[in-house]
């Protein structure tokens, strides 16, 4: 696995993550996001509908909470979860938790972490964790970690314990990784913990960087847990301790404004759960993510399709919980007779074929197709955002891009 940086400007890194797997066919643009799945399927989508989207991320993410209960079957299957789930040709990253759901706290011990599957809580030791990875066969995965520092007023003692445990787990994982035939081609990422305590963050980063890992997962920075200012401060301190040539994957952060801020402090990769969360509340992403041009190229670009930003959203009747300013609420009665596409100029299947009125109708009548169409649009819009972000970085237009996204 190799991170080729083409440009680093004021902390923002632009480049390509290559040779992600043995066959070296997949490369992932940086900064970029992963393709989010539940149990190795993109929620609401099958291979048919998924592939109406162009330029999918080269890496698909699976999470242990869904897969742990299928351990036996996966072991017997022997060919890993990518084949088991009928996934397309993609590289695979396995994380411990699913950032779209919050787990109950208080179940972590010195030797175990817990994940919640359909049958309830499952306790994982490092041995069990690694056995699972062997059955799943990801191309890279995070080591087992204690990230339970997101609750308000987590004590310093608790944060220190999280850092210590995570390092101990990493060392154990590394040993078992060497011994596991099925993981010979896989890479392991170390996990940086430390809650909201600067010294612990630095300690965790420094110590993790000493281990032979292929990259770093930044954990405990979940959107709900922390204000962006603090997050930026801590990540700046963390990335100062990490080698430049290894990728940094930030978990639990997906909102566009937070993504940009984290790119500005040296994050390379993000999870792709945000479009799914937007879909689940019946909303559609509609924020402006165009890159402005200089006057010379303006003529050329005026011919291209550009999504038009939605009018300012006043709170409609009963705004969904957690709705952000980057989206529109299709449940709202105001869309009942609106025969326009979700976002003018968007080239996703939903916008090319359907209207806001139709989506609204599907939501009102509780139809499955609502999820399919919204997921397609939200994923397309989010991927377009990352493409535009990279373009803005390449052309030194980040501040302008940031202004448009945040307006």
């Amino acid at each position: 696995m190799k991170l080729e940086l083409s440009k680093v400007v004021q902390g923002c890194r632009l480049g390509l993550l290559t040779a992600i797997e043995q066959t070296a066919q997949h490369s992932l643009d940086v900064p970029g996001c992963l393709l989010f799945t539940h149990c190795a399927t993109v929620p609401h989508l099958t291979q048919d509908t998924l592939h109406t989207l162009s330029n999918l991320p080269a890496v698909t993410q699976v999470t242990l909470n869904c897969l742990a209960e299928h351990h036996e079957v996966l072991e017997e299957f022997k060919e890993g979860v990518r084949k088991f789930a009928g996934l397309h040709d993609t590289a695979l990253y396995c994380s411990l938790h699913d950032s779209a759901t919050t787990n109950p706290a208080g179940h972590i011990t010195n030797k175990t972490v817990s994940v919640w599957g359909s049958g309830g809580r499952m306790e994982l030791t490092v041995a069990k964790f690694m056995a699972l990875q062997a059955a799943i066969k990801p191309d890279f995965y995070q080591s087992m970690a204690d990230g339970e520092t997101w609750q308000a007023n987590t004590s310093r003692k608790r944060v220190r314990k999280a850092v210590d445990r995570t390092l101990a787990h990493l060392d154990e994982c590394l040993i078992l990784h060497q011994k596991t035939q099925e993981l010979k081609q896989a890479k392991i990422f170390g996990v940086v913990e430390g809650g909201d305590i600067l010294e612990e963050r630095v300690r965790s980063a420094r110590e993790t960087a000493k281990r032979p890992v292929a990259g770093f997962v930044l954990d405990g920075f979940q959107s709900a847990a922390m204000e962006q200012d603090l997050r930026s401060q801590l990540i700046t301190a963390v990335t100062a301790e990490l080698p430049q040539e290894k990728p940094r994957l930030l978990q639990g952060v997906g909102r566009p404004d937070e993504v940009i801020a984290c790119v500005e402090v040296g994050v390379d990769l993000f999870e792709g759960f945000f479009p799914f969360q937007v879909t689940e509340r019946g909303c559609a992403l509609c924020f402006d993510c165009t890159v402005t041009t200089d006057p010379e190229t303006a003529v050329l670009e005026s011919n291209e399709e550009r999504p038009v930003v939605e009018e300012p959203k006043e709170n409609g009747d009963s705004c969904p919980e957690n709705m952000t300013r980057f989206e529109m609420n299709l449940n709202d009665k105001r869309y009942r007779e609106d025969l326009r596409p979700l976002v003018e100029g968007c080239s996703c299947y939903c916008c090319k074929n359907h209207t806001r009125a139709y989506i609204h109708h599907l939501l009102v009548t509780n139809e499955l197709l609502a999820g399919v169409l919204l997921m397609l649009h939200n994923t397309a819009h989010y991927l377009r955002f990352f493409r535009a972000l990279r373009e803005a970085l390449a052309n030194d237009r980040l501040q302008d891009f940031k202004r448009r996204v945040l307006q």
């Binding site: 509908t49 109406t52 025969l339 074929n353 009125a357 109708h361 599907l362 009102v364 009548t365 499955l368």
Partner: protein, 274 residues
């Protein structure tokens, strides 16, 4: 729009055989092959939104969507005609909005054929406290508790707004397990309602209204219904009032009786059978 063939259809045995459609119905049936042993036949039914190969099973897209699949997927599966449900769509989002969106085809973006039922069946099966009179079916809306009367005219008006390629008459539906005078009453009323539906159809040039043969499990009543309804100038016929839990042995007898007396040159739709 489909090219229209004026078909010949045979009336009941003994009558002068040829009946022509009095106006250009937007439907043509071409019989490709007929089984030498049974009454099975393979046809191409041409409707305003394209051809339909029969026999055909029509997927049910109740609320303007096939559950969970896109119209592109549906097309790729080879579906040539699917159903929309007049009762549900009439409730939500309502015929005015759908008409504004260029009909149900436009609203759901389906470019092939659509068949809509009359709304009558849902009303008697889904809704408590529905009452049938000569005027129509009276029921209480589950959405807002208001009393609604669905008449043949209103059913056709909604279906005209939906713009389906095939519309079903509003019939007086009785469960096949019911016996006695109610069955006969329903059969006669269905004939009268057919006439009202025919009169109410604003778009005979692009929407095909099908009659629905009733009569329960009574051969005499079925035959009487067939005699009457085949006198009407409709592009197609459905066999209704079956598949409600009756014995299979009774069921097929009514079906074969019906097809014995339905015109060869018009399509036959057996309702409620999948």
């Amino acid at each position: 729009m489909a090219a229209v063939e004026s078909g010949t259809c045979e009336g009941p045995a003994g009558m002068s055989a040829v009946k022509r459609l009095s106006h250009a119905a937007p439907l043509a049936l071409r019989i490709l092959a007929e089984c030498p042993v049974s009454k099975a036949r393979a046809c191409v039914l041409t409707l305003p939104h394209g051809p339909v190969n029969t026999p055909v099973f029509m997927p049910v897209g109740t609320q303007g969507t096939m559950k969970g699949i896109t119209v592109e997927q549906l097309e790729e599966l080879g579906c040539q005609i699917c159903l929309g449900n007049t009762y549900h769509l009439g409730m939500r989002p309502g015929p005015e909005l759908i008409e504004k969106a260029s009909g149900l085809h436009g609203f759901m973006n389906w470019r092939r054929n659509l068949l809509t039922d009359s709304g009558g069946f849902q009303m008697v099966s889904l809704v408590e406290l529905s009452e049938v009179t000569e005027e129509g079916v009276m029921f209480r809306s589950p959405y807002d508790g208001k009393e609604i009367l669905l008449t043949p005219e209103q059913s056709i008006a909604i279906q005209n707004s939906l713009g389906s390629d095939i519309m079903m008459q509003l019939d007086d539906v009785v469960s096949s397990t019911v016996t006695g005078p109610r069955v006969e009453e329903a059969m006669h009323r269905s004939v009268r309602w057919l006439d009202r539906c025919i009169a109410a159809n604003k778009n005979p040039d692009r929407q095909n209204l099908f009659a629905i043969i009733q009569g329960g499990l009574n051969a005499d009543l079925r035959k009487a219904c067939l005699d009457e309804m085949t006198k009407r100038d409709v592009p197609g016929f459905a066999v209704g009032g079956l598949s409600g839990g009756e014995e299979k042995d009774d069921f097929w007898k009514m079906v074969t009786l019906s097809t014995d007396h339905l015109p060869r040159g018009k399509p036959r739709y057996l309702m409620g059978v999948g």
